[in-house]
């Protein structure tokens, strides 16, 4: 055969593979308003940087080879804002992007290459689950499991996922394993499809109810953001990755500091009321302390009594762990503990210094929390916080009580402990403490209540904390940004180049 003929054959095979599942199936994907697998890759990566791996991969079953271009998962490497990344883009037009022996090998290669070379792994998930008949019987199922590291997260590199349609089986598993998830509304994230669920357990269930965006972003908290379009989901992945290093052995990249970034912090007292019974939105405080427009909240719809956010201060990436008085008075419930724990794991794994902003009446007590294993979740949070070896700066703004004071990196749990002059610190809210310790309520005896309140609140000020050197600084709230910035310069971890010990690297991704 001449080279002309060889290349002609090559071109035909290439065109066939690039055509995905054929024009009709691709048109059906487009008709629902989403991008197809290759358009997603084009949108994700910088123009002209994508190099595809496994273009000629197909099903291992001879009769299915012609109908399985790329075997339903488009894989390869490209650059995102100039930085290398690996990606798997599920192609729903090829056998529902179901997982097979060949395309699981492709996914493995992407993961291994990303980890070996220190670049993020991006997973554009949409799959009907395991492919039938490939995985039928002992021969089919037993052929799986060739990769004993397949589902192991050591967090050497960030995983970022988008759920852009139905995501069952492997697509669901890798979403669970990811550090960040954006989900297009209409997508479904679940172990199995509603159809399989109905057949297997006779439970008729609506897909949205089973694993829709509202459930996943508000109740389970697995999804960080829900979007209306594929493009928005991909933009969020790019933004998330912009705060992180490409791998765990480097510091996060620095950003430019926009002009006017110091202005809002000086007006912080316009946000925080002096009266402790009044609430405010901690997100406004975070925005004021950070470089202008640099805040990227993580899991904004989930467990809102805690706010977690990536941001920059003087160009450096930081992670905020905060109670938010606007929701549940900032009383941290079990879901808030989970949210904080997963964020601590993220920040410590990728060398992001932590800023704790505390204004909380404590952990939310009561039956509802106990049923949700509140004690265990509080200790998970505490253990994770104590294992973090990135720089930690902790600030009590108005109040911090009991175990929550310790969980929010109180005293020696932070590299530097700060308090605003307005801070009140104690074993529990003083008003409640009078009831508990002396059995007196305000309504019963105002005079006696006031007397005991004075006793309970004695030695609970920022200055009392500073007097025993359990806080190193009492600061004017309007200087908070400058002080944090300066302390991050001091706690630069030069001996290790800013690299944490990564003691949380293999912490479970859901717990």
């Amino acid at each position: 055969m001449s080279f002309d003929a060889i290349l002609d054959d090559y071109e035909k095979r290439r065109e066939h593979a690039l055509a995905m599942g054929g024009p009709e199936r691709v048109a059906r994907i487009k008709a629902r308003g989403s991008l197809h697998a290759r358009e997603r890759i084009d949108y994700l990566f910088d123009e002209g940087t994508f190099i595809e791996s496994g273009l000629f991969a197909t099903s291992f079953i001879p009769e299915a080879q012609a109908s399985t271009p790329t075997d339903g998962k488009v894989c390869g490497y490209g650059r995102i804002n100039g930085r290398e990344a690996a990606a798997v883009s599920h192609d729903l037009s090829v056998k529902g992007a179901s997982s097979s022996l060949t395309n699981v090998k492709k996914m493995r290669h992407m993961r291994e290459t990303a980890v070996r070379n220190g670049m993020p792994l991006v997973l554009l998930n949409e799959s009907s689950g395991a492919r039938i008949p490939d995985t039928m019987g002992a021969v089919g199922t037993g052929a799986l499991g060739q990769d004993p590291e397949q589902f192991v997260r050591r967090r050497e590199v960030p995983y970022a996922a988008a759920v852009l349609g139905p995501a069952y089986g492997t697509a669901c598993w890798f979403t669970q394993l990811s550090d960040f998830v954006a989900m297009r509304k209409g997508g479904v994230l679940a172990v199995s499809s509603p159809k399989v669920t109905e057949i297997a357990i006779k439970e008729k269930v609506d897909p949205e109810e089973l694993g829709g965006w509202k459930m996943q972003s508000e109740i389970t908290g697995k999804v960080d953001y829900a979007t209306d379009t594929d493009e928005e989901a991909l933009d969020l992945i790019k933004k998330f990755l912009s705060y992180l290093p490409s791998h765990h052995n480097e510091r996060p990249p620095e950003g430019a500091v926009p002009a006017g970034s110091d202005d809002a912090a000086r007006k912080i007292l316009d946000i925080v009321p002096a009266e402790r019974q009044k609430v405010y939105d901690m997100r406004k405080v975070i925005a004021a302390l950070s470089d202008k427009d640099s805040v990227f909240e993580v899991k904004p719809r989930f467990a809102r009594a805690a706010t977690t956010a990536l941001a920059r201060i003087n160009g450096r990436t930081v992670g905020y762990v905060c109670s938010n008085p606007l929701f549940k008075a900032g009383a941290l419930d079990p879901d808030a503990c989970d949210k904080v724990t997963s964020f601590l794991v993220l920040c410590d794994s990728f060398n992001v210094p932590l800023i704790f902003l505390t204004d909380t009446p404590g952990f939310l007590i009561g039956l509802a929390g106990e049923v949700k294993k509140a004690p265990g979740r509080i200790m998970n949070f505490m253990t994770a916080m104590q294992l973090c070896t990135v720089p930690k700066v902790s600030i009590v703004m108005r109040k911090s009580y009991g175990q929550a004071y310790l969980n929010m990196a109180g005293t020696r749990n932070a590299d530097e402990m700060l308090a605003w002059p307005s801070a009140d610190i104690g074993f529990m809210d003083p008003n409640v403490a009078v009831n508990v310790v002396y059995g007196v309520t305000y309504e019963q005896d105002r005079e006696l209540f006031a007397k005991h309140l004075k006793e309970v609140t004695e030695a609970s000020s920022a200055y009392d904390l500073a007097s025993i050197y359990s806080s190193q600084f009492v600061i004017d709230p309007r200087e908070t940004r400058q002080v944090i910035a300066r302390l991050l310069e001091v706690h630069n971890r030069d001996r290790t180049g800013g690299i944490s010990k990564h003691q949380l690297g293999n912490w479970p991704t859901t717990f």
Binding site: V279, F327, K328, A329, A331, P361, L364, G366, A368
Partner: protein, 73 residues
């Protein structure tokens, strides 16, 4: 028109109802203030709609996840 139930996010007491039946509200608007953990906790709606009914009154005790108002959306 569909109905959406507004729920209390925590156990506490209804301190003030600051909106009225018939009011048009938008996502994030406060309709009521609870008193809990010695703090004033606003109840915000998370969708646009019109207030059809309040299921609790000022001074009532509410529990976490209790339905406290009905919106028409």
């Amino acid at each position: 028109m569909a109905e959406e139930r507004v729920r209390s996010e925590m156990t506490g007491k209804v301190w003030k109802i600051i909106a009225s039946v018939g009011d048009e509200v938008s996502d994030g608007d406060e309709i009521m203030i609870l008193e809990s953990m010695k703090m004033e906790i606003p109840v915000m709606v998370d969708t646009d709609g019109t207030i059809k009914e309040f299921l609790v009154g000022e001074g009532d005790e509410v529990t976490e996840d209790q339905e406290i108002a009905v919106l028409e959306v």
